[in-house]
Symmetry: C2
Subunit: 172 residues, 2 copies
């Protein structure tokens, strides 16, 4: 029962990316600098978020990352599952079958009650995470957080975000 450190980094990065303009991007190196993390390692987590469809990546000198959809449609559960994997934490190994007395498989058609209880608890965990949207995190930070810290974050984002083809043909 231990979450990797990447989860915290991923959520912070996603919250930061929620503050960038429409289709602008922010390089991974800037995000790493923003939190004092290793750029090379953060790339791995950002890549996982991209693979899960939470972020979009743009290559090239003016490239970077941006949210793949609105912050209101991204929950903490999405990010946690993207980093930690979608399979449940408790995996029933069916050790009840491994005893010395071998019984026919028909005796185990019913799912293990222990497994059911553990999965039920995990559903509660995931439900609680699914209720928190990324926009809630940002709004809470803007409202409850210290104004100095919030202003510094906004300035950092403004300084490092890169606009994607401001007057190009592909503009919707």
């Amino acid at each position: 029962m231990k979450l990797g450190e990447g989860v915290e980094a991923a959520i912070h990065c996603a919250a930061t990316l929620a503050s960038v303009d429409g289709n602008s991007t922010m390089p991974g190196a800037a995000l790493a600098e923003s939190f004092g993390l290793s750029p090379s390692y953060l790339l791995k987590h950002l890549n996982m978020l991209t693979a899960s469809g939470i972020l979009e990546s743009v290559p090239g000198p003016a490239g970077g990352y941006r949210l793949a959809r609105a912050a209101e449609r991204i929950t903490l559960l999405d990010i946690v599952l993207a980093i930690e994997g979608r399979e449940p934490a408790f995996r029933c190994g069916e050790i009840r079958r491994n005893g010395p007395v071998k019984i026919d498989a028909s005796a185990y058609v019913k799912p293990c009650g222990i497994n059911a209880a553990m999965l039920k608890a995990e559903r509660a965990y995931r439900a609680a995470l699914a209720e928190v949207k990324l926009s809630d995190i940002v709004a809470d930070y803007a409202a409850e957080g210290d104004p100095r810290s919030f202003a510094a974050s906004c300035a950092f984002v403004e300084r490092h975000q890169r606009r994607q083809k401001p007057s190009s043909t592909n503009q919707a």
Copy 2:
């Protein structure tokens, strides 16, 4: 977000121990055999349960393990915390402070909103586990489980449990 294998073993062993008589004990080797586990490794987990006050251990040839209190007063949460540790799965590293712009510590008196959301979800998880008592697991197993498997388990327990005050040396 991954629980160790020992959690499943610990819950199964605790449920098995709930079926032994009042102050009788069952050796760890018998429990390991009951689930096809490594005896040496299971001892480590049983020892953790003992250290947490869930089990009691009796040394000596007629020794073994037994529940330290009634099965109605043992929850799945107790067992999970005993094996996995009591600290929460999400540990806020306060990476928001590690940015390039150093801000006075007074800006971070408020707890991190992300940390609050993650801990809230974990409280829901633990609350769900705390609602399931070990006696519920046993009762569900007796009621819903296959009669053959249940009978085999009872026979196994009956064959391996050791009474602490043997008044008769009747052994098959």
